[in-house]
């Protein structure tokens, strides 16, 4: 009994220690503390301790959690677990801190090796005291935090707001979508809804300043690309890690055909737009041919390679006479409308909104068409799909081509809006960003992708301080989503059911399930 308590305590404690030491090493705690300090008008040191305290509370509540084979633990056992968790994590954190602060005191510049341990951030951690005192404080803080967290967690175990996260999420979702869905059921309601949405989208760019139009425009372009990748990854189940290729094709097509350098063709924007989209689709099909016969894993790594190759090729001096090499293409044409320039950030916002609406319409229709059902069948089980008479190669190529076309459109808009394009716009991170948008939003779900783009591209704009940690958190988010909620924030109904089915098949309830707080497991 006691051994299992100690083990559970140790587990939570080590988790806390790893999280805190990791955040310390990547410098995130101080950044978070800065944000707290700004928001709450508090001292930075106090904010840091508050952040650490919150983490400790969470670890404490984890330690107090019931494991499968037992009933609710008694108070002494809860406290034992929390104590073990707090003490173990405190010791690790304290020792790490003691070591770094001692080294710092001896005049070794830690930044040569550990980039984020600047003297300023170390001072923040040392609280202006001696290393020993600071280390002791950081041993005590997790201990107290864990104890309080465990007490709170046990005390409020049956509180009404505690329930499986998914249930709370879906309750919120229900509350928002139910009235809308009801309204959309009648014809007039639908017309009214669309009219309201249309007016909103028409008026919104007028009310926004250039900065917001630009930012939301970027989000819009990511919605566009997300919806495109959604066809490939979400519907057809093909993991494409080189999606940036098609974005690059769109950008470079418009760049090469409309810019004065390197070819001085100076075509009109509106002529190039369909050419670029078509070209992206064709390239998508061509790249797809060699790899789409194989299953997902190969495709992932080959597309990843394509994404890198295109950057290397565009950057290569050997091809500079064609693509202008590393210098990129400046002064790309912007569209005109009835002879008037139509190139401000606001005008582009309108174009992006229009494109997004078009793409939403298209994907929505595709999804429910014969092709869409074929894609879903392939995603579920390719062999069975083929046995059902689906031409899997053609269907997959179609998905690839359509996804590529959307990315090409995004590329055209992106390049034309900033009037410049260069090889460095097309690194792996673009593909990963778009992938994260699709995954976090919900594979195969159009509202999910839109929400994903707003969360992943919009939120970082608001939280500028956290910019350095954006890609890091994207990586963590991809893993966390896969482990905790593979169907995404706003899943499509079918996808959710699939994932639940897979889970159920994976873990048959062999062990007796512990009684759940209330209402049973249903």
């Amino acid at each position: 009994m006691i051994a299992s308590d100690v083990r559970q305590g140790l587990r939570s404690g080590m988790l806390l220690a790893i999280v805190v030491v990791f955040l310390f090493l990547i410098g995130a705690t101080t950044t978070i503390a800065d944000i707290f300090a700004n928001a709450l008008k508090q001292d930075r040191g106090v904010s840091l301790q508050a952040v650490l305290g919150l983490l400790a509370l969470w670890a404490g509540s984890q330690a107090a959690k019931v494991s499968l084979d037992e009933k609710r633990p008694s108070w002494p056992r809860t406290l034992l677990r929390a104590g073990v968790a707090g003490l173990s994590s405190g010791l690790v954190i304290g020792l790490t801190l003691l070591l770094t602060l001692r080294l710092h005191e001896q005049g070794i510049n830690l930044r040569t090796y550990l980039y984020q341990l600047s003297p300023a951030s170390l001072d923040l951690w040392s609280l202006g005291r001696s290393p020993i005192a600071a280390a002791l404080f950081h041993v005590l803080l997790p201990l107290v935090g864990c104890l309080v967290g465990a007490v709170l967690a046990r005390g409020f175990r049956d509180a009404p707001w505690r329930g499986p996260a998914s249930r709370r999420m879906s309750a919120v979702r229900e509350a928002i979508t139910r009235p809308l869905a009801n309204a959309a059921r009648t014809r007039w309601g639908r017309i009214l809804l669309y009219a309201a949405l249309g007016t909103l989208l028409l008026l919104l760019p007028l009310r926004l300043n250039n900065y917001w139009n630009f930012t939301l425009g970027t989000v819009g372009i990511y919605v566009l690309m997300g919806l495109g990748l959604n066809v490939v990854v979400g519907l057809a189940g093909l993991l494409d890690l080189g999606y940036v290729v098609f974005f690059a094709v769109g950008s470079y097509t418009i760049g090469l055909l409309t810019a004065p350098t390197p070819h001085n063709l100076m075509w009109d924007f509106w002529i190039v737009l369909p050419i670029a989209v078509l070209l992206a689709a064709i390239i998508g099909v061509l790249l797809g041919v060699p790899v789409l016969r194989l299953r997902g894993d190969y495709l992932a790594i080959v597309t990843l390679g394509f994404g890198e190759i295109i950057r290397v090729l565009l950057k290569a001096e050997a091809l500079a006479s064609f693509s202008n090499g590393p210098r990129g293409i400046p002064s790309i044409a912007q569209p005109t409308l009835v002879g008037l320039p139509f190139g401000s950030d606001r005008d582009f916002m309108y174009m992006i909104i229009l494109s997004v609406m078009l793409v939403i319409f298209l994907t929505n229709r595709l999804q429910n068409s014969r092709v869409g059902r074929a894609w879903i069948a392939i995603r579920e089980d390719e062999t069975v799909a083929r046995a059902m008479g689906i031409n899997t190669l053609t269907s997959k190529l179609l998905a690839f081509g359509i996804g590529a076309a959307f990315a090409g459109l995004g590329g055209v808009l992106f390049a034309s809006r900033s009037q410049f394009t260069g090889p460095d716009d097309f690194n792996l991170m673009v593909s990963i960003n778009v992938l994260a948008v699709v995954i976090v939003g919900g594979m195969g779900s159009i509202p999910g992708v839109i929400a994903g783009a707003f969360v992943l591209k919009g939120l970082p704009e608001v939280l500028r301080e956290l910019d350095a940690y954006r890609i890091l958190s994207f990586g963590a988010l991809l893993v966390a989503m896969m482990v905790l909620r593979p169907e995404g924030l706003i899943p499509s109904t079918r996808r959710r059911l699939e994932m639940q089915e897979a889970r159920a098949a994976e873990s048959p309830p062999a062990t007796p399930v512990a009684p759940v707080g209330r209402g049973g497991a249903a």
């Binding site: 890198e308 001096e317 896969m482």
Partner: protein, 366 residues
């Protein structure tokens, strides 16, 4: 099904895909032949000494790739999944070795006039390797525990995305912790990067560096021991059983999760050793150092036949040679060597997806 039982009409049709295959294949061969003719017969750009240099560097990089490739292949054989984050396991090992060497360089011994690394060169190298190997091993095992194990039995896309996420996470964590700049590995007193044996080929010197020879030999030793582990030990037998069929293996009393964990540990060991070797031989590391070798190693795994250990070694050496001889042989810019290596992957996937040594895999395995 016996041939005669089929109606005559189902005789194989020629699909457009096969036509495309032939066209691409012939085009590629024609291109290679033309370039080789230009370079070798017409222009004669390089003398035999340069070719020898290329070949040597190809064997060295090939042996480093081989260590990474094995990691992909082992995991693929057992989980049917590409461990995308494997290149980061390699990177972590390189960094661990770097830090240990730096520490030993500034650690005074005895009277304090000499550093540890100067007084005990061989133990220093061993310590560096031990640190790199241990770190990579722990990273690999932790990776499996956190990012892959909860996803057993999920649709195939799910662990793949999780792996991509883990890879991005580790790259960026390393960059945040260790800074964006490139790090120069200590030039070890016992294994100076710039020294070596000199051969004379056609009256021109060809330097074979000690680090290169060391890397090559160590890699071969590790690969042979790995092969023996897989073929001769109890663990190896369990690994092969799990890769054949997990359920049956479990019924035979094999701890499947344990075997998978150990597989990740073994691939971590090899990747860690490769990381430290990379640092010692090439001298520079950074947070994204694993990316290109990772893709290359995967290419090598496919080239040799994924899931096949001798194939992985063969594929790695072949790829190393192709990418070091290729740009010279085809008379192309050396910047484009990654493009060449990568075209190989695409060609292999078009013509022989099972690789050089791979058996014809069933659909499920592909």
């Amino acid at each position: 099904m016996p041939e005669s039982a089929l109606p005559a009409r189902t005789r194989k049709r020629i699909t457009p895909y096969q036509i495309a295959q032939v066209v691409i294949g012939l085009g590629f061969l024609a291109f290679v032949a033309w370039r080789l003719y230009e370079v070798l017969v017409v222009e004669r750009t390089y003398g035999p000494d340069t070719w020898l240099k290329f070949a040597i560097s190809g064997l060295i990089i090939g042996s480093v790739y081989a260590l990474i490739t094995i990691g992909y292949t082992l995991v693929y054989a057992i989980l049917r999944m590409i461990n995308f984050a494997h290149s980061e396991v390699f990177m972590v090992g390189a960094f661990a070795g770097f830090f240990v060497f730096e520490a030993l360089k500034s650690l005074p011994v005895g009277t304090g006039e000499h550093a540890f690394i100067e007084v005990y060169p061989i133990p220093s190298i061993i310590l560096g390797f031990v640190a790199g190997i241990a770190t990579s091993m722990v990273t690999g095992v932790a990776l499996e525990r956190i990012a892959y194990r909860p996803l057993r039995g999920a649709p195939r896309l799910v662990p793949l995305i999780s792996a991509v996420g883990a890879s991005i996470f580790l790259q960026n964590a390393a960059q945040l912790m260790f800074g964006p700049q490139r790090r120069t590995f200590v030039n070890l007193p016992a294994l100076d990067r710039n020294l070596g044996w000199t051969l004379t080929v056609g009256e021109k010197p060809v330097l074979i560096t000690y680090t290169g020879v060391f890397t090559f030999i160590l890699a071969i030793v590790l690969l042979i021991s790995l092969y023996l582990i897989v073929q001769r030990t109890r663990l190896g037998r369990a690994m092969r059983a799990v890769s054949e069929n997990k359920q049956t293996a479990a019924l035979m009393g094999i701890d499947v999760d344990g075997v998978i964990s150990r597989t990740f540990a073994i691939s971590g060991v090899l990747a860690g050793a490769a990381g430290v070797m990379w640092g010692i031989h090439y001298g520079q590391i950074h947070a994204y150092v694993g990316f290109i070798p990772g893709i290359k190693a995967f290419t090598a795994a496919v080239l040799g036949g994924i899931g096949n250990i001798p194939g992985a070694m063969l594929g790695s050496m072949t790829l190393g040679l192709i990418e070091s001889l290729g740009p010279g042989g085809l008379g192309m810019d050396f910047q484009l060597k990654d493009v060449i290596a990568f075209s190989i992957l695409v060609l292999v996937l078009i013509f022989r997806p099972s690789g050089i040594l791979g058996e014809v895999l069933s659909e499920e395995k592909l």
